[in-house]
C-alpha cells in the first residue's frame, strides 16, 4: 500500500512533462484516430518463439524504401533524353549519368546505392519468399498474401528491366533489345507487347522516356499499393509461428496431448469454438 503523501517536486515535474507530451497526441487521436491506428499497426502480439528469419520481409521493405528515396533524388538530376549533345556527341541521358557519378557531390554514392540496392531488393524478396515457403506461412489463411507477394516480386523484376535501360549505354541498349524481343516471342500477344514496350517498331528515344515513366511512376506506384495490401494482411492475420512452435500468436500454450497434435493455431487450424484465434 502506497502512502498518501504529497507528490515531490520531481514527481510533479514528471507529471507535467507527461501531460505536455500526451496533450498533442491526445489532440491528434481525438480528431483522427491515428495514434490508435499506429498502435494497431506496430504494437501487435507475435509468437514468443519468433525467428530472425522472419525479419526478411521488413528487410525487403527497407530495401524498397531505399530504392524509392534514392530514386527520387536521382530523378532530380537524370535526363531521360536520347538526343545527342552537340558539344560532346554523346546522348544526353548517358551524359547525365556521367554527371551524377563523376561531378555531383555524393552522386556516386546515391547512384551506387540505387544500382546495387536494386539487386539487394530482389535478393531479399527471394530470401523472404524462401522463408515463407519453408515455414509453411503461405498456407491457410495466408494464401492471398503469397499471391500478392508474387505480384510484388514480378513488379520488382519489371523495375529491374526498365531501370536497366536508363543509363542508355551499349549494355543498356542491347540488354533491352534482347529483353523486349524475348517478350516478343511470347505466343499470340507477344509481338504486340514488344511493340508497346518499344513505343513503335524500333527502340528509340520514345522507348527511353516510356521506360523512365514506367520505372519511376507506374511500377513504384503499383508496388506501394501492393505493399500496403501485403502489410494489411500481415497485421490482420498475424505473424506465423515457426514450424517447430508449440504456440500461436496471442494464444496460450496447450499441452502436447490435449489436441492430439501438440499445438493449435493458424498453422494448424482448429475450430474457433475450440480456442482458435478470433
Amino acid at each position: 500500500m502506497a502512502l498518501r503523501r504529497p507528490p515531490t517536486k520531481a514527481e510533479l515535474r514528471r507529471q507535467q512533462i507527461e501531460e505536455l507530451v500526451l496533450y498533442p497526441l491526445d489532440w491528434l487521436e481525438e480528431r483522427s484516430g491515428l495514434v490508435g491506428g499506429v498502435r494497431y499497426f506496430l504494437f501487435r502480439n507475435v509468437p514468443s518463439d519468433i525467428n530472425w528469419m522472419q525479419t526478411l520481409g521488413s528487410a525487403a521493405l527497407t530495401a524498397f524504401l531505399v530504392q524509392a528515396i534514392t530514386g527520387v533524388i536521382l530523378a532530380m538530376y537524370y535526363v531521360p533524353s536520347a538526343a545527342t549533345d552537340p558539344h560532346t556527341g554523346q546522348p544526353v541521358a548517358y551524359e547525365s549519368i556521367l554527371h551524377i557519378t563523376d561531378n555531383l557531390t555524393m552522386g556516386w554514392l546515391v547512384r551506387g546505392m540505387h544500382r546495387w540496392g536494386a539487386s539487394v531488393f530482389i535478393i531479399l524478396m527471394f530470401l523472404h519468399m524462401g522463408r515463407v515457403f519453408l515455414f509453411g506461412a503461405y498456407k491457410y489463411p495466408r494464401e492471398l498474401n503469397w499471391v500478392i507477394g508474387v505480384l510484388i516480386l514480378v513488379m520488382g523484376m519489371m523495375e529491374g528491366f526498365t531501370g536497366y535501360l536508363l543509363p542508355w549505354d551499349q549494355t543498356a541498349y542491347w540488354a533491352t533489345v534482347v529483353g523486349i524481343n524475348l517478350n516478343g516471342t511470347a505466343p499470340f500477344l507477344g509481338p504486340w507487347l514488344a511493340q508497346f514496350l518499344r513505343g513503335g517498331q524500333e527502340i528509340s528515344g520514345a522507348t527511353l522516356t516510356r521506360f523512365y515513366s514506367l520505372h519511376m511512376l507506374v511500377i513504384p506506384g503499383a508496388i506501394f499499393a501492393l505493399i500496403g495490401l501485403h502489410l494489411y494482411l500481415v497485421i490482420r492475420l498475424g505473424v506465423t509461428s515457426p514450424p517447430w512452435s508449440k504456440e500461436a500468436a496471442g494464444m496460450e500454450e496447450v499441452d502436447a496431448d490435449s489436441n492430439g497434435a501438440g499445438r493449435v493455431g493458424l498453422t494448424q487450424p482448429v475450430p474457433r469454438s475450440a480456442g482458435g484465434r478470433d
Partner: protein
C-alpha cells in the same frame, strides 16, 4: 445517442421553428453574374456591355445588402420552416418518433426505388461515366501511338557506282535522321550486277539476328588491306554512310552464337529463320533502302537466288512451320 441530447424529432419544434439568419437568398448569384458581364464586357464592348453588367451588379448588390440587413433594420422575417407529412406505414420511410423507438420501421415494397438506392445508382453510374471519359483517352494515348502511324523511312545509300560488283560491304547508316544515332543500323550488302532481265540486283541482308535481335557480325577479314577495295565514307540525305568492304564466310551473332551463311540462311544456333532483308529501289542512280521483310530460307545466290519471302516479323518468331501458328496476328508494320 446520449440520452440527454434531444433527438431531432423531439427537438423539431424548439430548434427548427427559429429561422437561421440570414435566410437563403439568390441575390449573390445575380451579383456574381453582373460582375461576370462586366468582365466579359471589358473584352467585347467596354461601353455598352460593361455598363449593363455594372447595372446588374449594383441592383443585385443592393437587394443582397437589403436582405442581409433585415434583422438590423428591425423588420420582421417570415420564414416558413420546412415540414413534411408523416406518411402512413408502408407509404413512406419516415423514422418513427423518438418515443416509439423499438417499433419496426415501416416496410418498403421490394420493387420501390428508394432514395438511397437511387443515389447509389446515380453515384455508381456517374462515376462510371466519368471514369470512362478519363480512361478511354488515356488508355488510347498510352497504347495506340505504338501501333498507329508507323512511318516507312527511305534510306539514301549513295550512288550505285559506290558498290563494286560482286563485293560484300558492311553498310552502316542512319535510318531516321530525326532520331539520330539510336536509329543507326547495319546491313551486309552486295551488288549482284544486273539480273537475268537486265534490272539491277542487290543482296541487302539486315544484320539483326533472328534469335533476339543482337547485331550479327561478318566472319571474315574486312578493310582495304585484305579486300583491295577502299572503304567508302560519305554523307547522304540520311546522314553519315560507311561502306566497309568485307569477305564474309558467313555471319555470326555475339550474343548467343547463332551462325548464318553468306546468303543469310541459318546454319547453327538458336535463331529461328534466315536473316531479314531490305527491299530497295534505284532512284536517279542512287540506291535507296525501303522496308525490311522476313525470309525463311534462300536457295541459290546473287541475282538468281530464290528467296522465300514473308511479311516482316520480330526476331525469334518463326515465319513457317507449325511454330508460325503461335503468331497469327502481327502488329501493324509500315
Amino acid at each position: 445517442m446520449e440520452p440527454e441530447q434531444p433527438s431531432p424529432d423531439t427537438a423539431h419544434d424548439s430548434l427548427h421553428e427559429e429561422p437561421h439568419l440570414p435566410p437563403p437568398t439568390l441575390w449573390p448569384v445575380g451579383f456574381a453574374i453582373g460582375i461576370v458581364v462586366v468582365l466579359v464586357g471589358l473584352i467585347i464592348n467596354p461601353v455598352l456591355i460593361s455598363s449593363i453588367g455594372g447595372a446588374i451588379a449594383i441592383v443585385f448588390a443592393f437587394l443582397w445588402a437589403r436582405d442581409a440587413t433585415t434583422e438590423l433594420r428591425g423588420e420582421a422575417i417570415v420564414v416558413e420552416p420546412e415540414r413534411r407529412e408523416l406518411k402512413e406505414a408502408g407509404e413512406g420511410r419516415t423514422a418513427p418518433p423518438a418515443d416509439q423507438q423499438g417499433v419496426a420501421l415501416p416496410r418498403v415494397a421490394e420493387t420501390a426505388v428508394t432514395r438511397s438506392r437511387f443515389l447509389e445508382g446515380a453515384t455508381l453510374g456517374l462515376g462510371g461515366v466519368i471514369g470512362g471519359l478519363i480512361t478511354v483517352p488515356v488508355a488510347g494515348f498510352a497504347l495506340l501511338p505504338s501501333f498507329l502511324g508507323q512511318k516507312q523511312h527511305k534510306v539514301d545509300m549513295g550512288p550505285v557506282s559506290d558498290y563494286a560488283p560482286g563485293q560484300w560491304y558492311v553498310a552502316t547508316f542512319i535510318v531516321d535522321p530525326a532520331e539520330g544515332e539510336v536509329s543507326k543500323r547495319a546491313a551486309f550488302l552486295r551488288n549482284n550486277g544486273n539480273g537475268p532481265n537486265g534490272e539491277p540486283s542487290f543482296t541487302i541482308i539486315s544484320n539483326r539476328c533472328t534469335h533476339l535481335g543482337c547485331p550479327t557480325q561478318p566472319n571474315g577479314p574486312s578493310g582495304q588491306q585484305f579486300t583491295g577495295v577502299a572503304t567508302v565514307k560519305e554523307r547522304t540525305a540520311n546522314g553519315p554512310l560507311q561502306l566497309l568492304p568485307v569477305i564474309p564466310a558467313g555471319y555470326g551473332c555475339p550474343c548467343h552464337g547463332s551462325q548464318f551463311d553468306v546468303e543469310g540462311n541459318r546454319t547453327a544456333g538458336p535463331a529461328v529463320r534466315a536473316l531479314d532483308r531490305y527491299e530497295f529501289e534505284i532512284d536517279h542512280g542512287r540506291l535507296v533502302l525501303l522496308s525490311t521483310y522476313s525470309v525463311s530460307k534462300v536457295v541459290g545466290t546473287g541475282a538468281a537466288a530464290k528467296i522465300y519471302k514473308y511479311k516482316e516479323t520480330g526476331p525469334g518468331e518463326h515465319v513457317d512451320g507449325p511454330e508460325d501458328w503461335l503468331y497469327p496476328l502481327q502488329p501493324p508494320h509500315h
